[in-house]
Symmetry: C2
Subunit: 423 residues, 2 copies
Amino acid sequence: MTQTRFALWGDLIWSQTPARLNILPGYCVVVEDGQVASVEARPPEDGTPVHDCRGKLIIPGMTDLHLHAPQYTYRGTGMDLELLDWLAQNAFPEEARYADPDYARRAYRIFVDDLKRSPTTRACVFATVHADASLELARQLEESGLICYVGKVNMDRDSPDDLREAGPEESERETRRFLTGMEGFQRIKPILTPRFVPSCSDGCMERLGALQREFGLPVQSHLSENQGEIALVAQLCPDTAFYGQAYDKWGLFGGGAPTIMAHCVYSGAEEQALMQERGVFIAHCPQSNTNIASGIAPVRRYLDRGLRLGLGTDVAGGAHLSLFRAVTDAIQVSKLYWRLVDQDCRPLTMPEAFWMATRGGGAFFGRVGAFEPGYAFDALVLDDSALPTPRPLEPAARLERLLYLADERQIAAKYVAGTQIDI
Amino acid sequence: MTQTRFALWGDLIWSQTPARLNILPGYCVVVEDGQVASVEARPPEDGTPVHDCRGKLIIPGMTDLHLHAPQYTYRGTGMDLELLDWLAQNAFPEEARYADPDYARRAYRIFVDDLKRSPTTRACVFATVHADASLELARQLEESGLICYVGKVNMDRDSPDDLREAGPEESERETRRFLTGMEGFQRIKPILTPRFVPSCSDGCMERLGALQREFGLPVQSHLSENQGEIALVAQLCPDTAFYGQAYDKWGLFGGGAPTIMAHCVYSGAEEQALMQERGVFIAHCPQSNTNIASGIAPVRRYLDRGLRLGLGTDVAGGAHLSLFRAVTDAIQVSKLYWRLVDQDCRPLTMPEAFWMATRGGGAFFGRVGAFEPGYAFDALVLDDSALPTPRPLEPAARLERLLYLADERQIAAKYVAGTQIDI
């Protein structure tokens, strides 16, 4: 259903700031040309079609800043392994299968169908090293109605033979082929995706930096996830003072290139300062950091410092595709960080983690994640009637409960940039 | 459906030891008079009815060693609060409503219906201080076909006026009234339930100890959940060297009284030794300990030491009723404990956490939690066909994936002591 102007009538909740929810029960959000036009206390009487969602919550759609589409179908397996073993035994052998277009088509179909039904309206997605499979993923996502960045992965060193590109030339050539194939897409855009520093030679990084400037592309990668990884990067890049510089020296760390760095579990003061200076988005992936035993990122510090920040499910380091789960995972690990690591680092509150999933991560896509005029209308209509209570709950408690308990069955409708998605 | 002898045919998995899964794809478990009679490589040819569950996993039912039924309908709310604030603002006001029999009936109906559909086949349940509401819960559980212990809670000090019993006499009288009401139940049995030491006067504890000996009752309570709580107990009971002694001195800490202590996040060496000596069961409640910011229990130590150990959802300190979730929560927090607190304390593996949910906790009920001759036939038949993969998975990976991802929709059938439950 595409209407140029319509309204949704229900219990509106969105983040005004990280600390503050706007809660407007029984209000209308009026949508025009895919954007929020206004929020009104009463349904418009000018003939605008009104969709009656009274009794349901209407919240902004959620942005997943970091996930690996090819790992989706094997989520929740091999979780007793730590990062490097998990990559070697689980992630890499699976990703190698995407050289087969038929396998990629079948596996990505499972992923895209589930992503459509999830709370995610926008996502920044790692594919694999294969240009053709990455284009297949982009085609399926384009049809889904979701808005995403998709990255063909670059990796030309320290990787299994059947996943490693032969060198910088091949990596650039395949990336250009991917970029050419991405022309003409409406909702899905390409993003440069060096896997992480250990997997990319200097030559590869140099060419990706040049591609970034040639096409003005955004960038996504991994940063400071694990102590072993950080030590390896320091050894591979002796001219850098910290991990982030190993991207920055190639122009792949924000500034001109809108950039997402996943994890940042162990980012020190200098790295944080450079992320702030360059406007780098941190994709906080609490469940993955737990499952692969990386640790807990000090997100409270990043939030209080005003760093750009959103949530990632990091499927399949994270086993769950749902950003509802990521919101509550973020709250939960922040409590353990506070209790076990640093009692000056207060736990995240529900409104703060909700902000990260909506407005925080949404900002990577522009004016996304709030019901304010000029914002893209990404929304979830949530029906909590299958979660009965013996007495009524206030909207904020209903939202909190849904974040902890809901799955796709509670999503009654989903809109992306004003278009209703077929879930 | 009640048959005296039948067989289930499918992919059997159960724990032989904490470290070792028995995996028998395409086997039959033969059930007679509610117990496992044998496990066979082929369906019996003696006329025994065979239920064909090929392609599905058949695992033991799960035991929830600790949860609060009256908190269920408000799970997932107020989770930004710490233990004492959460009790005061969330748990206690809700429990006070169970003085109203109609409220109790409606609220417990929601709980029992969901528990039936959950992976739980047996549970040890806290009700409230109200004898009548506790009997209502027991009646609804009895009809469900599940096997449970239900405890009317005792609390006569340091509690809100509308929940506090007037003193030891009232506490004993109401407990006797509850015990009388429980006569004649088949599947639901009473368990003595002093809320925790701070809520029970010495006089109350003394009378509960006497009731324990008079009726040979089992006991459940809370232990060493939170540092503030431990300090309070030390102050209230200056004659004790550690928290567990405050139960033990009244005969409420194992030995003759089969006992469950929930949490044990901060149990020291002496407390652990006494639990071992007395055969006390530890109910590990990883999500609750996270949500209420208590910390992480060193479960690896308890397991390696051979302490009796199972899992609790601790609804509503835990927001989730599913023991699948508790299994993966236990694994996840053990990884963070290992990474952040004690690198000598290896993370729990999936088989170990699965063991805790089945055989570990099941032992509180006797021979429960395994498919071995003489064990009660508690089982879940799991259908993972709605979680497709582009290539087949081995049974152990299917089990792991279900533990991370499944909800009640994947439970195709459920048996308790040989009787199929209407889910």
